[in-house]
């Protein structure tokens, strides 16, 4: 990637595109923040708004204009001058104006008419999306100490779910989280919920009642993030292993560029050097891999959620279509079986009730030959 950037701009902490409209070159998040703070006046990023009269007075003074001119100027630039309807009429802003010449509205009208003809009502997921938005916006903490400081960095992070099915390539299910620059990577890890953390491992056809207590997260705590050549391992618990070592040694042995390691709990976002828009990796449970993309980095704003305690803040969650039981088609699958003579397919998915009714007698004795594995549906989090 040599010479990808002409030497005209020596400041590498002012993000530029590495690849237009896709991702930036690498920069240091803390330094990026400082670049902004050096350029701005504290009043620019303060959560408080300066008094309007003070503003007017200062403006008139600086421009050397009279109070009269100032009044004229304010009236010329007033928002009333943008009003597109008679004063005594209140337009219905919910309705697309039928006779507009704006192309956007012509299209929106068509779409709305089409939607009306289909009689689709809003589903619960759209309502949920609205709900998320309403909760997050402009929240203030009860204690001042929990306030996100002015000029703090806010990151938007997308975490993608493994592409298990072909169709996922096109829709890319993900969650979106907001974090501040002083959060650590470990806090990001704890905010990512993934079914493989809840997966129960093992075959339990002979003892279906003891299965559910055996959850992966308790057994396989190791995980890492990979950003720009560095593996950030979770080393918070004694049973954590540095699972990046295998990769690092493999890479070394095969003449890849060298990789290094750090602890995720010791690394704050502020300390990271990253590319915005670039796909990185989160790996846990040994082989459950997630893409992680930092889609935005910016200074905090007064309408952000200002309560530190509410971060990492979930702002988007995909919906997953749950897989139903092959027998009743009503309940979400809890077991999948293989080599199962009762099953219509191999493997086959059953809800708990149908599974037990079909595979065990009234006394709970196993009937016939099959292997049974507990199953956690990805949609169980919806």
């Amino acid at each position: 990637m040599a010479a990808s950037k002409p030497s005209t701009d020596p400041n590498t902490n002012i993000p530029e595109y590495e690849y237009t409209d896709v991702n930036t070159h690498i920069f240091h998040i803390g330094s990026f923040r400082n670049e902004w703070l050096n350029r701005l006046k504290p009043s620019n990023y303060s959560y408080q708004q300066e008094d309007e009269d003070t503003f007017d007075a200062n403006f008139a003074k600086e421009m050397g204009i009279s109070a009269e001119t100032m009044t004229d100027l304010k009236s010329i630039c007033s928002l009333d001058s943008l009003c597109c309807h008679p004063e005594d009429e209140q337009p219905d802003t919910e309705v697309v104006p039928p006779d507009s010449t704006l192309r956007t509205l012509v299209q929106r009208k068509k779409k709305q008419d089409h939607r009306a003809s289909l009689k689709i009502s809003k589903n619960r997921h759209d309502l949920y999306a609205d709900e998320l938005e309403r909760l997050t916006v402009g929240r203030k903490p009860e204690a001042v100490t929990d306030m996100v400081p002015e000029g703090e960095v806010i990151l938007t992070i997308n975490v993608y779910y493994p592409a298990v099915y072909e169709k996922f390539i096109y829709s890319r299910p993900h969650i979106t989280l907001l974090m501040t620059g002083s959060h650590s990577l470990a806090e990001l890890r704890d905010a990512i919920c993934c079914v493989s953390d809840l997966q129960v491992c093992g075959e339990f056809s002979n003892t279906p009642d003891i299965a559910p207590d055996f959850i992966s997260k308790d057994h396989y705590k190791s995980a890492f993030f990979f950003f720009e050549g560095v593996f950030y391992n979770d080393m918070r618990y004694p049973e954590c292993q540095d699972i990046s070592m295998t990769t690092i040694e493999w890479a070394k042995a095969h003449k890849f560029p060298p990789y290094s390691q750090a602890k995720m709990e010791d690394t704050r976002f502020m300390d990271l050097k990253v590319k915005v828009g670039f796909p990185y990796l989160y790996c846990h449970q040994g082989d459950c891999e997630h893409l992680v993309i930092i889609t935005d980095v910016r200074l905090s704003h007064k309408v952000d959620c200002l309560d530190k305690k509410l971060y990492p803040l979930l702002t988007h969650k995909h919906r997953v279509i749950t897989q139903k039981c092959a027998v009743c088609h009503v309940f979400i699958g809890r077991w999948f079986t293989t080599n199962d003579q009762f099953a219509p397919s191999d493997p086959c998915l059953f809800c708990d009730k149908c599974f037990r009714m079909l595979h065990y007698d009234a006394q709970g004795n196993k009937l016939g030959d099959f292997l049974a594995y507990p199953f956690v549906d990805p949609g169980a989090f919806n």
Partner: protein
């Protein structure tokens, strides 16, 4: 929201196009066009969960007009558009205008130009947006999620809104003509001195090369002026700007007279002026204050191609390394159409 991106852009261009024909940078004029077009209505009829996304889209679209390479006048229009959209949007609390760190200098320079020219409405509106916390101070102008649709979205910039091309004038400037004339002169003398001027086989250079070149560029310039038609002085107007229309056109006349003078003097320009290029360099008049940072699109090879290029995999491990993992599939899909003939050759087998 991507479905309406084209429509939104075209509506903004229509508004700014009308603003451009007025040759004005006054907010009064802008708001009149806004009202005529019923532009506030652009937010009407967005359903709840679309509101914020639509605000985001239209603010991002408008933002691009506020930056170079557009002319000063269009950038003023872009600022007014941001101000108006910001206040008329239906998302509550309002969606912010994203201001990228790399564009900060452009905005400061724009503000300075406006102050120097005493465009009070421009300065007032920019400062009002600051006062009301309408900006988010960001890393990049848009949120970046490694999107594959970028090819479609990379629509052409509206040419009419940009500063007029001045490359021929820039290239064939007085310095060059002078130099060329000297060389031509010298060459002629050399030929004479060795007594070859009679031999037609060495008449390789056109006679009158320099005047011809000059008149061609002058013709081009005149044609360009004619083509500009009624709005002939809009780009000069867009320069440091003056507070009234009348002064603008006066200034335009002045600039064009300076230009024609520069050409008229081309032949007799003295050597002493050689380093004072500013006086004869067309571009310094032609370009508004906005052209300071050049505009170029870099076309880089795809991520995959670049990775391939950078990572040297030894021996038969290549196969193992490229075996499609889920992650690999997610990252590569976008770039498939981008790929030139596969670059596997570059690997050391």
């Amino acid at each position: 929201m991507d479905f309406c991106q084209k429509q939104v852009k075209s509506d903004c261009e229509e508004l700014l196009g009308r603003f451009q024909t007025t040759d004005s940078v006054r907010f009064e004029i802008f708001s009149k066009i806004w009202r005529e077009m019923n532009f506030t209505q652009i937010f009407y009829g967005t359903v709840n969960h679309e509101r914020r996304a639509f605000s985001r889209l239209i603010l991002d679209t408008a933002y691009s007009f506020f930056l170079p390479p557009f002319s000063f006048q269009i950038r003023v229009g872009g600022l007014y558009l941001l101000y108006s959209l910001y206040h008329c949007q239906r998302a509550s609390p309002p969606e912010q205008i994203r201001l990228a760190l790399k564009n900060w200098e452009d905005v400061k320079k724009f503000e300075k130009d406006a102050v120097d020219a005493q465009h009070l409405d421009v300065i007032y509106i920019l400062r009002q947006l600051m006062l009301r916390k309408a900006f988010n101070f960001t890393a990049m102008p848009t949120v970046l999620a490694f999107n594959k649709k970028r090819k479609m979205e990379r629509a052409a910039l509206c040419e009419a809104f940009m500063e007029r091309a001045s490359r021929p004038q820039e290239l064939i400037n007085i310095e060059l003509l002078e130099e060329l004339s000297n060389v031509d002169d010298h060459y002629g003398k050399l030929k004479t001195s060795i007594g070859l001027q009679a031999d037609p086989s060495i008449n390789l250079i056109r006679k009158e090369l320099v005047p011809e070149l000059r008149s061609t560029v002058v013709d081009f310039y005149k044609w360009q002026q004619r083509k500009g038609g009624a709005g002939g002085h809009e780009d000069e107007d867009s320069g440091e700007g003056t507070s009234s229309q009348q002064e603008c056109s006066k200034r335009a006349q002045l600039i064009s007279s300076i230009k024609s003078k520069a050409y008229g003097e081309a032949a007799e320009a003295s050597k002493s002026r050689r380093h004072r290029q500013v006086e004869v360099d067309f571009t310094s008049y032609e370009a508004g204050p906005s052209l300071s940072s050049g505009y170029s699109r870099t076309n880089k090879p795809s991520l995959k191609a670049r990775t391939n290029e950078n990572v040297h995999v030894s021996g038969d491990l290549w196969e193992e390394a490229t075996r499609t993992t889920h992650i690999n599939r997610l990252t590569t899909l976008d770039f498939v159409p981008e790929e030139k003939p596969k670059t596997y050759k570059r690997f050391k087998w």
